[in-house]
Amino acid sequence: MAKVQLSLGEKTFIIHGVQDGLRTDGRSCDAFRPMELECGVVSNTSGSSRLRLSNTEILVGVKAEMGKPRPTRPNEGYLEFFIDLSANASPEFEGRGGEELATEIANTLTLTYDLKNVLDYQALCVLPQQCCWVVYVDVVVLECGGNLFDAIGIAVKAALYNTRIPKVKVQVDSEGQEEIEVSDDPHDVVLLDTCNMPVLVTVSKIGQQHVVDATLEEEACCLACIVMAVNAKGALVGMEKKGSSSLTMDSIQDMITTGKKVGMNLNSNLSSVLQEIGRDASSSGFLS
């Protein structure tokens, strides 16, 4: 991750602040920075979103293409995640610099979305064993100001909400051959049900306390964090510990409780904002 160097004094100040429940930007430990969300920003995609979380900026483009179902699941479509940590965000990501972090994020997303509760994958299948929708979710990180996982999680969910997949008809011709016909009516589309999709919440342990939505400076003070994928019901659909330090069972329990609370709040806020924006939102001005 884009690293910032901090002096001992700055670190001490941040750690004591977290202890007192007042972070350097005035937030309490369980508060997110204000976010700005936009859907339908790229016209060439099936769905897209842009999320700005203070200094972190994420652009997600979803493209639905047709492919062959995986042999292990012949009657399901699937999602493919790709994260591009562009060198725009930080010179550190140049070349293969961001690759490790990018695979880490993509793996987390793949694991959390690959559950049958999350999305009706069978609806993405057109012809068993022959043809299905492959939904490519491509994430570009334009700016990195801490808390990449959570920001990407929110942006991905928003982009999938915005995604419109054309309706497909399968017809059998006179010789018994199946023929696929894709509707070209822009309103004749399938929308994805996002209500069971999770958001990611990173709870970072700083000193004796833990915070959500850590800034870059706070990330530099944090030795261990837990990334949780929380769905609207408050259940965990994935959890990973990251960082170089170990955690006691008590603090893990506290962190999970915080993660659940914040995750549910985030989910309900996000779905109400998404409803406000609407399914077929078009761009109101990109990056301005």
């Binding site: 049958k116 259940a235 965990l236 510990k241 170990s246 069972m249």
Partner: protein, 282 residues
Amino acid sequence: MPGDFKRIPCPQETFQPQLYCKSSTKKQLLQENGKRADNRSLDEIRPIFLKAGVVSQARGSAYIEACNTKVICAVYGPHEVQRREGFSMQGSLRCEFKYATFSCPGRRQHQTDSEEKQMGLVIAQALQPAICLHKFPKSQLDIFVTVLQNDGSAFAAALTCASVAVADAGIEMYDVVIGCSLRQAGETTSVLDPTITEDFYSRSVDGDASNHGSVTAAYLPSLNQLSAIQQTGEIEPEVAAKCLQKCIEGSVRIFPVVSQCLIKATKRKAQKSQQTAKKDDV
């Protein structure tokens, strides 16, 4: 994931033949008498064989076998870091995790895939709090883990194996790391140390999929802390905490095996050095 076709001649895509079997009846997780398919009870771990010092040329090495799950690990270093970035008074860890191509039911690619990369990263992070990294500044320790046969819980076995190998290399450590896996099946049922048929797959659940999933944890017994947590599937937070607790209990049972193995390895080394000392005298 495309393979490297220039180096390895093989067809573009192949599938394991089992996929074409007409699917037989789904296996139940538990038998009627409440035991698992291999006659273990719910929280029984498989017997473990653990040996340190199996790769003679490595600084440290270990081999773990839990029935059909077999993992080997070698440690090289610490040595000077090749590409140094910035100044640090701490040593660094690098871990490469690899499934042997034949280790799983389906053939795996020869190249490290993203899952393996991720596992390597997690193992390095799990071992970091256990190793006195400040004792070897500016240098790097390489850990190579190969899964020879995967019959479930390979990752947990890899964690244990890697920590024994590091200890065998004579690296100063605060604690050993013990991995343990658990499969949650429904709110109340959980099986410890699952085999590959018991393991959680995202599509292996019929009906309500909530509270189905798997948890792997790495436990430091002396510090009484967890250094790695991996959870997949949908589990309620309260249940997840219980799962972690059970993983800790499982790890505590593995701990004596680890310490005995290390004591044995040390004894062997001591005997050898005595023998050589005697030869020198003669």
